[in-house]
């Protein structure tokens, strides 16, 4: 058995170092874990909440020997996690999956929801190096525009566009509206997208007709995390092992499913 996979996939019990509230529905959890602390932007970990569940989470930051994930309370597992405090024990395996390439030319990030977390991780790596770093993010309402201030500070000046569906901040529309206009106006060498899949689909459609390189991080129901069980497949790809970051060329291959359907826990196709 490959020693590296064995080490990465071995469950490590660890204590929650800190919990930070990011929004009314979102918290950031930090753990000590040497292996996950070596993760690259785009990679994910599997978090075991004892007696509840084990879920895949994108990595938001690493620092020294610690790793952070940002979690929205949406289901049983994430709600149980939100009730946990620093000092309590969880389990980790990972980091898993591939990572975003780190393009340092003219880069545009498009984010939504907790998808902003891995983009923040990426932006920290790119901020000093990229020729241009621009951002378009959207949310339902102002306090769900996660990491807006941190992202804005890392981007090139005057290069951030925020949208909300209720108009409580920025433009009152979906993120894809100003994105379309921006792409008409300006040339980008790479677009990194992370967020709800219908948004990613629209970003893909907009970049595709202009032939702009793109990478998007996808999410699926996941069980094993190591490319065996098939729960997270999209087309011929396993999101956990071949992804979670996919190039425009790969997204083209899975166009029939991207933003449209995924496999449910019983393996039946369900609409997104």
């Amino acid at each position: 058995m490959s020693d590296k996979l064995t080490a990465t996939n071995t469950l490590r019990a660890t204590r929650i170092l800190s919990v930070k509230t990011e929004s009314p529905t979102t918290k950031t959890f930090t753990f000590k874990d040497k292996l996950c602390a070596k993760a690259k932007p785009g990679q994910f970990l599997m978090l075991w909440i004892p007696r509840v569940d084990e879920i895949p989470l994108s990595i938001m930051n690493t620092e020294g020997t610690s790793v952070s994930v940002t979690v929205k309370a949406v289901g049983d597992a994430t709600q149980a996690l939100h009730k946990m405090k620093s000092g309590e024990t969880v389990g980790l395996r990972g980091p898993f999956g591939n990572n975003f390439t780190e393009n340092t030319s003219r880069v545009l990030m498009v984010g939504g929801g907790t998808g902003n977390a891995p983009l923040l991780f990426l932006a920290k790596r790119l901020a000093a190096k990229a020729k241009r770093l621009a951002l378009v993010i959207g949310a339902k309402t102002k306090n769900e525009l996660l990491f807006l201030n941190q992202l804005e500070a890392l981007c090139t000046e005057q290069s951030t566009i925020a949208t909300t569906e209720d108009g409580s901040y920025g433009l009152k529309c979906l993120a894809t509206e100003p994105l379309d206009k921006l792409l008409n106006k300006e040339k980008f060498d790479m677009i990194y997208a992370c967020g709800p899949e219908p948004m990613i689909r629209q970003v893909f459609d907009l970049t595709e007709k202009r032939g702009i390189p793109m990478e998007a991080s996808l999410e699926r129901l996941m069980r094993c995390g190591i490319g065996l069980c098939g729960s997270c497949v999209i087309g011929k790809y396993r999101v956990c092992r071949d992804g979670p970051v996919f190039t425009a060329a790969q997204l083209r291959e899975v166009k029939d499913e991207l933003g449209i359907s995924k496999l449910g826990f019983d393996g039946n196709r369900i609409p997104l």
């Binding site: 469950l11 069980r223 065996l228 069980c229 098939g230 396993r238 019983d266 393996g267």
Partner: protein, 306 residues
């Protein structure tokens, strides 16, 4: 004529090489199966499918052990009615035999599901009578010679395609079960399914898998699987498909020498990616050449003769 030394026949199936995807690995969608076939597998076995949909167990469903992986997925599957569409789709894109793994809660249910799979286009069915982690299906039948015989007979009466029986190592004497399946008309036997196992987290002092117990697969079980194949082939004439911890061509050749006519590969896909099929087949071909054999058949069971 037989220019490809890897080509072989098994239970009426023409295989371009003796490696197949083991059940439970990927295998929901036609695209996944196609990818494995393109990566070099000689046949593919689907995830186990039953009469009605099952969502399986909550996570953790997989836990790393030394030398292997313990899983308790809980047989998640969309049910044969929905899966028939995927079987039909798979048949239009696959260039290798499609073996559909089926399970049931009774002999009659196995027969019903197997019939539906065959009707949808399965080239063969593999009876999962050995799932180590779902109660009242699989191993309850696979551990009882009389129930196993009855199940195999009912499936054989319901389908005209080859019927493969996947045996459990979680029994006192696997040969007795192999004989029961063979007597009832099984066209081939797969040995073995995963080995019942558990992992406990010392910090929280509790089993890690949500189902507590699961099945161990991977290199750790290879010597056990190999011994099972060796034992069965000593007493039973029915062709055997070796399965359990195969990750290298040497592993595959060991199973052939022990008496297997073909092998299945599963966990190694996580260790080495789907290209593991091509690597293993190249290794087997080089071994045959070096040992001056013209076909796989010449080495099947050779360890018993030497």
């Amino acid at each position: 004529m037989n220019s490809n030394p890897l080509r072989t026949r098994l239970a009426g199936l023409e295989l371009r090489n003796p490696t197949a995807l083991a059940s439970g690995i990927l295998g929901y969608s036609a695209e996944s199966l196609q990818r494995i076939a393109e990566a070099g597998a000689g046949a593919v076995v689907t995830k186990s499918v039953g009469l009605t949909p099952r969502v399986g167990y909550p996570n953790p469903t997989v836990v790393q052990a030394s030398g292997g992986i313990i899983n308790a997925m809980g047989l998640p599957n969309p049910g044969i009615e929905a899966y028939a569409g995927e079987i039909r789709h798979a048949k239009t894109v696959l260039a290798v035999p499609l073996i559909v793994s089926v399970y049931g809660y009774s002999a009659e249910e196995y027969a019903t599901v197997a019939k539906a799979a065959a009707t949808a286009g399965a080239d063969a069915v593999e009876l999962n009578v050995s799932c180590p982690h779902v109660k009242e299906t699989g191993s309850e039948i696979g551990q009882n010679p009389a129930l196993l015989k009855d199940t195999v007979r009912k499936v054989k009466a319901a389908v005209r395609k080859p019927v493969i029986v996947k045996l459990s190592p979680n029994v006192t004497d696997i040969v007795q079960l192999a004989q029961a399946a063979a007597t009832a008309g099984a066209d081939a036997l797969t040995a073995i399914n995963s080995v019942r196992a558990i992992a406990i987290d010392v910090e929280t002092a509790q089993p890690i898998l949500s189902n507590k117990r699961g099945g161990l697969s991977g290199p750790a079980i290879k010597p056990i699987a190999l011994r099972c194949v060796y034992d069965i082939s000593e007493k039973v004439k029915t062709p055997i498909i070796g399965c359990g911890g195969i990750a290298t061509w040497q592993d595959a050749v060991e199973f052939l020498l022990a008496g297997a006519s073909a092998v299945q590969i599963g966990t190694a896909i996580a260790l080495k990616d789907p290209a593991v099929f091509t690597t293993i087949n190249r290794g087997i071909a080089a071994y045959l050449k070096k040992k001056k054999h013209r076909s796989i058949k010449e080495i099947v069971g050779q360890a018993h003769r030497n």
